[in-house]
């Protein structure tokens, strides 16, 4: 009756985990059962595990409740995004960039468009720059809401309520974006030298309504979570990323800033109109789960500040170069360019190599989540499973960006 069901052969990652156990046994680093049997088990977490957020697979070696070793396996969402660029014009590729890191797609678009503009030496209209900052910061808030919401949902059923509060607020942002761009997640909104549409009537007022409403919501979330002793106990002092780790592994974004590294490309490699804006870079000292959570919460406040300033300073003028629409076909001169952009998760870089034709010769993304994932084996080992889940939630991975 069950002939069709056979125990599958362990794959490469599992074999590697088993080999590492054997090596550790050979070195005499067995578990402390007084030289009895080595009782570590290899467990697959993912790609369909509820707490790996997408299709990340972790091959975890467990000693009881303790995580001994972690081998991340990626590639379940690989869609050849970089190769696709080589058969598409620069313009045709914009909607595909949206689909790499889908939670902050407009920031990825921004990174790509900026790289092409730099390559082709194009200017961006001033109004479009402000609209880009506004949309980018709104999406940063939306992305952080998902990050914090799913992270709290990993911790408890309390989080399942939190996650809905946060998605409720994200919905307002998505509505604003839908009104502006016609799409809710895959915007296809930025153009070389500007943006596709100007702000619709009344959009600025609706955006201001959101800015007025949202700080109260943040306060409410903090009241729910920050004062909860169980939450504090489970997050403080766990999963510490040291500053050496940040440098060694190339961690960027809120994860690096939570470790006290004052690194924000909006300030330190400024682009767009960020030099004219007044905002703080949020850092924390301890580099643990709680600090990463706090950094995200405070960054949302800073983003609100930025959006408010942009709405105040918004100049009149065209949103695109030329009279009617952006150029469909551009042929940048041969050469290569790298542009880094401060994505909600860290430095999202675009590297383009041009051979002077209508297609990029090679395109490469530097995804922050990919670098953050490299830290997983070091960060999770030695923690309990429950902590490991909380830590991986606090790192905030998006597999669409890692696998591309």
């Amino acid at each position: 009756m069950y002939d069709h069901f056979e125990t599958p052969e362990p794959d490469e990652a599992v074999k590697l985990a088993l080999r590492r156990i054997d090596e550790a046994t050979a070195r005499g680093e067995g578990s402390d059962l007084g030289g009895l049997e080595f009782n570590e088990v290899v467990v697959n977490m993912g790609p369909q595990h509820p707490s790996t957020h997408g299709v990340l697979r972790l091959v975890v070696t467990l000693d009881g409740e303790l995580v001994k070793d972690v081998i991340p396996v990626i590639g379940y969402l690989h869609r050849c995004k970089e190769k696709l660029a080589e058969r598409r014009t620069y313009f045709q590729y914009i909607p595909i960039v949206d689909r790499t890191e889908y939670l902050a797609s407009i920031n990825c678009e921004w990174a790509y468009v900026m790289a092409v503009e730099k390559l082709a030496g194009m200017q961006v209209t001033r109004r479009a720059e402000f609209i880009r900052v506004i949309t980018g910061e709104l999406m940063r808030i939306a992305s952080h809401l998902v990050a914090v919401g799913t992270f709290t949902a990993d911790l408890s059923p309390l989080g399942t309520a939190m996650v809905f509060y946060m998605f409720r607020d994200r919905e307002i942002i998505l509505d604003l974006m839908e009104e502006l761009t016609g799409a809710r997640m895959m915007f296809n909104y930025y153009r070389f030298g500007g943006v596709r549409y100007d702000l619709p009537d009344g959009w600025v007022e609706r955006c201001r309504d959101f800015l007025k409403m949202f700080p109260k919501q943040i306060k409410e979330y903090e009241a729910l979570v920050d004062t909860n002793a169980v939450f504090l106990q489970r997050t403080q002092g766990k999963g510490v990323i040291t500053q050496q780790d940040v440098v060694d592994y190339g961690i960027t974004g809120p994860n690096a800033r939570a470790s006290g590294i004052d690194l924000d490309l909006r300030r330190h490699r400024p682009y767009s109109v960020y030099p004219e804006l007044d905002f703080d870079i949020i850092t924390a000292q301890h580099g643990d789960i709680f600090d990463r959570y706090r950094c995200r919460m405070d960054e949302m406040r800073e983003s609100l500040k930025i959006v408010e300033q942009c709405l105040d300073m918004l100049p009149n003028g065209p949103v695109q170069l030329g009279s009617l629409r952006a150029p469909y076909v551009i042929t940048p001169p041969p050469g290569s360019v790298y542009v880094g952009q401060e994505n909600p998760r860290g430095e999202y870089g675009t590297y383009i190599e041009s051979d002077g034709s209508r297609y990029p010769y090679r395109l490469k993304f530097r995804d922050p989540c990919f670098c953050n994932l490299q830290l997983f084996p070091k960060l999770l080992s030695g923690n309990k499973i429950a902590d490991a889940v909380a830590i991986s939630g606090s790192i905030d991975l998006v597999l669409g960006g890692i696998d591309r």
Binding site: Y2, F5, E6, T7, V41, V43, H49, P50, S51, L62, E65, T152, A153, D154, L155, S156, P157, L158, G159, T160, A161, V163, F164, Y165, R168, T227, N228, A229, V230, F231, L232, Q233, R234, Q236, G237, V240, I241, T242, Q243, Q244, V247, S259, G260, Q285, H286, G287, D288, K384, I385, A386, D387, V389, G393
Partner: protein
Amino acid sequence: MDILLGILRAILFVVVAYAVVFVAALVNILYERRFMAFIGDRLGPNRTGPQGALQSIADAFKMMGKEDFRPLLADPVLFTLAPVMVMIGAVSIQLVLPYTQGFLAIDLNIGVIFLVAITSFTTLSILMGGWASRNKYSLVGGLRAAAQMISYEIPMLLSLLIVAMIVGSMRVSDIVAFQAHYEWIGFYAPFTFLIFYISSIAELNRGPFDLPEGESELVAGYATEYSGMRFGMFYLNEYAGLTIMSMVIVTLFFGGWMGPWADAITWLGVSWIGLFWFLVKTYILVTALIWIRFSIPRLQVDQLMAFAWKILIPLGLVNILATAAIILWVPSWKWGLAVFSWVVFFAFVGLFDPILKWRLRKQRERQPVVSA
């Protein structure tokens, strides 16, 4: 003739007990989903039937229609037996519970001990299911469940002993009779009730103690490999447990079926208003259980065990000694007990969180700042 009547009576009560389990489970699933949705600012299931009333029934039929799948390496006997046995606790615990005046299956003279003994069956079948599945998640979930339930049975038993001491009898109907005229044991011994309530949440494997099936870590815990109606049995038992455990608490601490005009309408030898009060009290407690689940983050295994062994059990022991001393030596011991228990109750509730937070603050200050 008497034997025939006895057999009929037995059949009646078994049918009622099963009916209560199934109906309570279906009602509680829907109730929790709607309540959770309310907490999460959503609507919840509201499409199947009026206000989604038929949602649970639709889900039950869906489960029955699913493939009955057993992994090749699973232990066939235990794997099949576990979901059947899991119901034993929830069903047979009702045999000593007086729903109302004249509606009690067996008036055991050791009812309280029966209550404790029979709840352990759930642990056993969860352990069986987790072990028989041959799945690492299931095994870890099953072992966690066993460790947790055994640990929390001790404070539960300690508080049950106090109830028996106050009443002077282990007969459940005596416990209810003692609480006539609103002399609820919950008023005399609120701290005992608190310990019992906390450990009963852990017994039920519910949040914040839902480690055995902590979905973010262990997928579905001991039930990972179960599908279809086998999983449905675990699920039904879990949700029926909400009502059953609340019924036990109501009987022990809140006067059972006693209430205003409890004896007003008697039909077939059963007082129906009493049944009404019994259900009302039960569902107040069920609501509290659901509310707690969605208000407190899940504890960790070590925190959970520490809470049982370092806090609840010592407090329970001290409580039992103090209560015994008061009953023995204080002349009007009921009032002495009430004063003592309320003071401890408020001290525990008022001080636990601030002390925990103060310790956390100290820890945070000592925590090293990351550096190169």
